[in-house]
């Protein structure tokens, strides 16, 4: 129903052509009764339309942007797994580098060492066994890098002038005070037979083989080193020839336990 309160709405519909014929008749009747409202039609200008100023922009759109929490958590979980995996791999890598020497001191690895004794002046088998036990005990205390193991012994036949040991080869004092020959970082195979001249061809890819003579008097550190001719030769070849060959033999020294006498010894350390 058209009233004075809603007449503008009907006038607007009339101007915009949205009135039904029935409503137009109703409007005409209303205006006939209220002629003062007729002039309102002329006061209305349908062409007067506001034009938006599109230069006005909201510049801070980025502050409005959102991300679903569930989705944002997914990459976090995903990358967490990657990070954990990376840490695990890193741990394995580090373990291999630093824990490996302890692993290699296991009896299993030690058993790879074969000691043959063909001409005993003392009780070689018992000595070897004792050595093994002792070495196993001592290896648990090893703090140096890549200690591998075994004792081989032969009394020095002639004394050579001690040669200063390379600084980098110095083992830990605990090792030096042992009664066993210790071989450091022996990666592959070495065959060493007393009575024969040192044959460099029998030394294959040995790294940092250290052997030295243990003496309670002159062995506070590593000075009692290399009185044995084989040891000397070994070291000599190391520092002159062998180190430069393709065999990759590096830094080999031999330790001889003073009170253990083997006339002939073959030391084999299996390839790891």
């Amino acid at each position: 129903m058209i009233t004075r309160e809603n007449i503008e709405a009907y006038l607007l519909d009339l101007i915009e052509g949205n009135l039904s014929p029935e409503k137009i008749k109703e409007l005409e009747a209303f205006l006939k009764e209220n002629p003062n409202y007729r002039e309102m039609i002329n006061r209305y200008d349908p062409s007067l339309v506001l034009i938006a100023d599109r230069n006005i922009k909201f510049e801070d759109k980025e502050s409005l942007r959102r991300k679903n929490k569930s989705k944002s958590i997914y990459p976090f979980i995903k990358y967490s797994f990657i990070a954990i995996a990376a840490c695990f791999i890193l741990f394995l890598f580090v373990s291999k580098l630093f824990i490996k020497p302890l692993e290699n001191t296991s009896i299993k690895n030690f058993d790879k060492v074969i000691v043959k004794n063909t001409n005993n002046t003392l009780s070689p088998s018992s000595s070897i066994n004792n050595d093994k036990e002792e070495i196993v005990k001592k290896q648990t205390r090893v703090t140096t890098n890549k200690t591998k193991t075994i004792a081989k012994a032969q009394k020095p036949q002639e004394k050579e002038i001690p040669i200063e040991v390379k600084e980098g080869l110095k083992p830990e004092p605990k090792i030096l005070l042992s009664n066993s020959m210790v071989v450091y970082e022996l990666d592959n195979l070495i065959v060493y037979i007393e009575g024969e001249e040192f044959n460099k061809n029998k030394i294959i890819e040995v790294d940092n083989l250290v052997a030295y003579k243990d003496s309670p008097i002159i062995n506070p550190i590593l000075s009692p080193l290399i009185y044995n001719k084989y040891v000397y030769q070994l070291r000599y070849n190391l520092e002159t020839t062998i180190e430069k060959t393709q065999n990759g033999f590096n830094n080999a020294l031999v330790y001889i336990q003073e009170n253990v006498k083997f006339n002939q010894l073959e030391l084999v350390i299996a390839k790891k």
Partner: protein, 158 residues
Amino acid sequence: MTEKEYNLCIDNYSDSAFLYLVKNIKDSDAAKDILQEAFTKLWEKREDVDFLKAKSYLFTSAYHIMINNIKYNSLKNNIPEAQLFTSNAYNDINEVMSQAMEMLPQIQKASILLRDYEGYSYKEIGDILNLSQEQVKINIFRARVQLREYIVKIDNVL
């Protein structure tokens, strides 16, 4: 409405909603705050809001937030509502229409802006402003009549 659609709303509607608010209250800082609040509300209700109706929802929210702010500031500062948001007026005194708009009551201004700027139907404007179609038509009719009279008056002065 998905996250992607919400962000699409920002791209499509933030400028027009901001303009609508600025033209209503003549205060760009207040308009920015209101718009951010309106988008926050849209985000919170995104599960219930259809993307096709997101624009209406946004304008509705913005309008009601704006009205609430006007009423709140009016009560707080004991200032008539009509005088609020005019201190930082959108400053273009040569723009006669802008001046004429300032003369309109808030509800007329809100109605005609939605009609002319956004092209909403009377029903849609009614939904946004919580008015009947008849009330919307009356507001727009009266607003256009007042604008015309103001412009004619200025023309006579010049």
